[in-house]
Amino acid sequence: MSISTDSITVSMARLALDAASMRHQAIANNIANANTAGYAPVRVDFESQMDAVRAALQQGGTVTPSMLQGVAPVLRRDVPPAAAGQGAALDMEIASLAQNTVQYQALLKALSKHMSILSAAVAEGKR
C-alpha cells in the first residue's frame, strides 16, 4: 500500500479495484448461500470512505495522498438478516453482480488509459 511513489490516479484505481474484487466475493458468497436458512448477506463498505475525496473534487480542489490514508474496503454483515426470512434475494444479487463486473472493467479501462498517457510521455509523443 505504498502511495507515495504512485500517482494519485493509480492509487485510487487500485483501491477501487480492490473494493470491486472484494464486492464480487461478497456477492458470490451471497449467491452460494441463496438457500441457507438464517443467512445474513455480506456487503462491502467502500464508497462512504471516499467522502473527503469527493468533497475536494466538488470544490475544485485536488486530491492529496493523505486523503487516501486509511481508506480500505471493509466487509460488513447485514443485521438483522433479510426481512424476507431466508438468505439473500437472488435477483438483487445477480443485478449487483452485473453492475460490479461492469464497474471493474471500467476501472481497468481507466487504468490502462492512464498508462497509455504515461507511455506517450515516455515516447515523447511519438507513436
Binding site: 474484487s21 464480487h24 458468497n29 449467491i31 441463496a34 455480506v42 453482480l97
Partner: protein, 147 residues
Amino acid sequence: MDYRNAFAISATGMNVEKMRLDTTAANLANVHSTRGADGKLYQPLSVKVVEAGASFATGFEQQVQGAGRLRGARVAAVEPTSVAPHKMYEPGNPDADEKGYVTLPGINQVTEMVNLSTALRAYEANVVAMNAAKSMALKALELGGGQ
C-alpha cells in the same frame, strides 16, 4: 485480493445445489418404494445447508489478509425428515398388510419439484457468478497490453 477465492466460493455454492438436486432425485425415485435396503420404509431426505467457516476472522488472519475471508456455503447434513407415511390400497402387493394396504413414504411430489427448480436456478446463478469472476480476471490480465 485473490481472485481464486471467488471461484472457490462459487464452487461451494454449486456443490451445495448439486447435493440438493441429488437428494430431490433420490426422494422422487423412491415415491413408490415400499421397502428400503434395510427392510424399513424409505424416509424422505432433506439437505441442511449452512455458511462455510465463520469468516470474520479476528486477530492474526485479519492482519494478514486485511479483511475477513469468505468461504461460501457447505452441506451440514442430509437428514431424514419425519413426514408421516401414507397408505394405498393395493391387495396384490407382496408388502401389503392383511387389509390390503401398502405403506408408502410421505413424499410430496409438488414440494420435490419446487425444490428441484430452486436448486437448478441457484446452481445457474452460481455459474453466472463464476463466469463474471472469469471475465473480470481475464480483463485484468489485459492490463498493460496493447493499448
